[in-house]
């Protein structure tokens, strides 16, 4: 194994879970998320000489994100965007409900449902900031937008997530679950 490959593995393979989590949240299914992450690692490896050290995780996540959007665009040109179906989600929630008992699990499911309902540009900013802990500056680089846009997008994403969360919760309670 070449030195470059070894170095690459040591820096980037530990971030595999983070990469997958981000891809999974953006594209919303396992198989496509795996394809996206695989593609991202190849891209990262090919562009490895352009990596100047620093936050390897943020660098990789940026590539994952870009690969996810390539995937999105390809899919969008193949078929129309699938609109949100209320019943489908309601059902998922009720199925999960039978298995989950404590309050924490319910909250988890509500939050998952709420985040799934947000548009992808809001989902990714939530994951990158709240879960991956990127700074506003890193987010700006990653998303390719000014810091001011990061500020307003994150703020709106949180606001929307809070609203969706409240709605999902209300619906669940109304269903007597």
């Amino acid at each position: 194994m070449g030195d470059e490959r070894r170095q690459f593995d040591e820096i980037f393979l530990p971030h595999l879970d983070a990469a997958y989590n981000l891809a999974r949240w953006i594209v919303q299914n396992d198989q496509d998320a795996q394809d996206v992450v695989q593609e991202a690692y190849i891209r990262a490896f090919k562009g490895f000489h352009g990596f100047r050290g620093g936050n390897g995780r943020a660098w990789l996540l940026t590539i994952v994100r870009n690969a996810a959007y390539t995937w999105f665009n390809k899919r969008l040109s193949d078929q129309k965007w699938v609109p949100y179906v209320e019943e489908k989600h309601a059902e998922i929630i009720s199925i999960d409900q039978s298995a989950t008992e404590n309050r924490m699990e319910k909250q988890k499911e509500d939050l998952r449902g709420a985040l799934e309902r947000l548009p992808p540009e809001f989902r990714e900013v939530i994951i990158l900031y709240e879960i991956e802990g990127l700074s506003y500056k890193e987010l700006a680089l990653s998303l390719g937008v000014p810091v001011g846009t990061v500020m307003s997008r994150l703020s709106r994403a949180r606001q929307r997530l809070r609203e969706e969360f409240a709605q999902v919760k209300t619906r669940r309670t109304a269903n007597g679950l």
Binding site: M1, G2, D3, E4, R5, R6, F8, D9, E10, L13, L16, D17, A19, Y20, N21, R24, W25, D30, A33, Q34, V37, Q38, Y41, I42, F45, K46, M104, Q107, K108, L111, R112, L115, I126, Y129, E130, I131, S135, Y136, M151, S152, L154, S155, R158, L161, R162, F165
Partner: protein, 252 residues
């Protein structure tokens, strides 16, 4: 600053991302405005709820293997190239060495050492299979194999547990290699036996991609002051895969 302005900056303020003059102004407003304070609490509370409870997806186990396979492919053209060149180069070196050897009684030349090392390692590997001397200590528990080497060698070789990856630890043995006693760690996958020789780099570091000779595949690398040489009759790809797994699981 009024409530509208503050509400636009509130997230950044709470995230500690607001600088310059805006920060003290938001602060001042919050002291005097109960509504905005309430909103700030809601934002911060929700944010910590998200962090604490948002489900995270873990990468499926097979994904790592898939990525490794495609990385190998991505870096393959390069190694093929070197690989193809390596052989003629080695022949050339061998001829050169032979020439030098004839001309003088001294024959210490770097490629020679590698070649000698490889021949010796192949002999060791073949010997371990032919003679009933595969291992001196038989155990699939690395906590037994590793301590066994203590006192027999002047270093402690890492013994990786690769059972999850499909390699059964067979045991350990002491062999002679590179003119010194070295640790041989033995794994088995199906019918294939893999020998991993481990010794300090003091006598010179080794590092080369998978090569083949006499039906065996082998590769060498060094890591944290130790040389590693693994050899088996398995395919080149299998050996590369094994190297990946071993490197991953030997405590780095």
């Amino acid at each position: 600053m009024d409530c509208d302005e503050v509400s636009r900056l509130l997230d950044a303020y709470l995230d500690g991302e607001l600088d310059g003059t805006a920060r003290p102004e938001v602060q001042k407003h919050l002291v005097s405005c109960a509504d905005c304070r309430k909103e700030a609490d809601r934002i911060a509370g929700f944010s910590s709820l998200v962090r604490a409870t948002l489900p995270m997806y873990k990468a499926p186990a097979e994904l790592k293997a898939k990525i490794r396979a495609s990385l190998r492919e991505a870096s393959a053209p390069e190694s093929h190239w070197l690989f193809r060149l390596r052989r003629p180069l080695m022949y050339a070196a061998a001829i050169l060495v032979l020439g030098f050897g004839l001309a003088s009684a001294f024959r210490t030349y770097a490629p020679n050492r590698n070649q000698e090392l490889i021949s010796q390692a192949i002999a060791n590997h073949a010997c371990s299979l032919m003679v009933d001397h595969l291992v001196d200590v038989t155990s699939s528990d690395r906590h037994i194999v590793r301590p066994w080497f203590n006192g027999k060698l002047d270093y402690s070789p890492p013994v990786a547990d690769l059972a999850q990856e499909g390699y059964t630890l067979v045991g350990g043995r002491i062999d002679m290699l590179d003119k010194r006693p070295v640790a041989a760690i033995v794994y088995r996958r199906g019918s294939q036996v893999i020998n991993v020789f481990v010794w300090p780099v003091a006598s010179g570091k080794i590092d080369f991609d998978v090569q083949s000779d006499r039906g065996y595949h082998f590769c060498g690398w060094n890591q944290a002051g130790l040389n590693y040489f693994c050899i088996s009759a398995a395919t080149a790809e299998d050996i590369e895969k094994f190297e990946d797994e071993f490197r991953d699981h030997a405590n780095l």
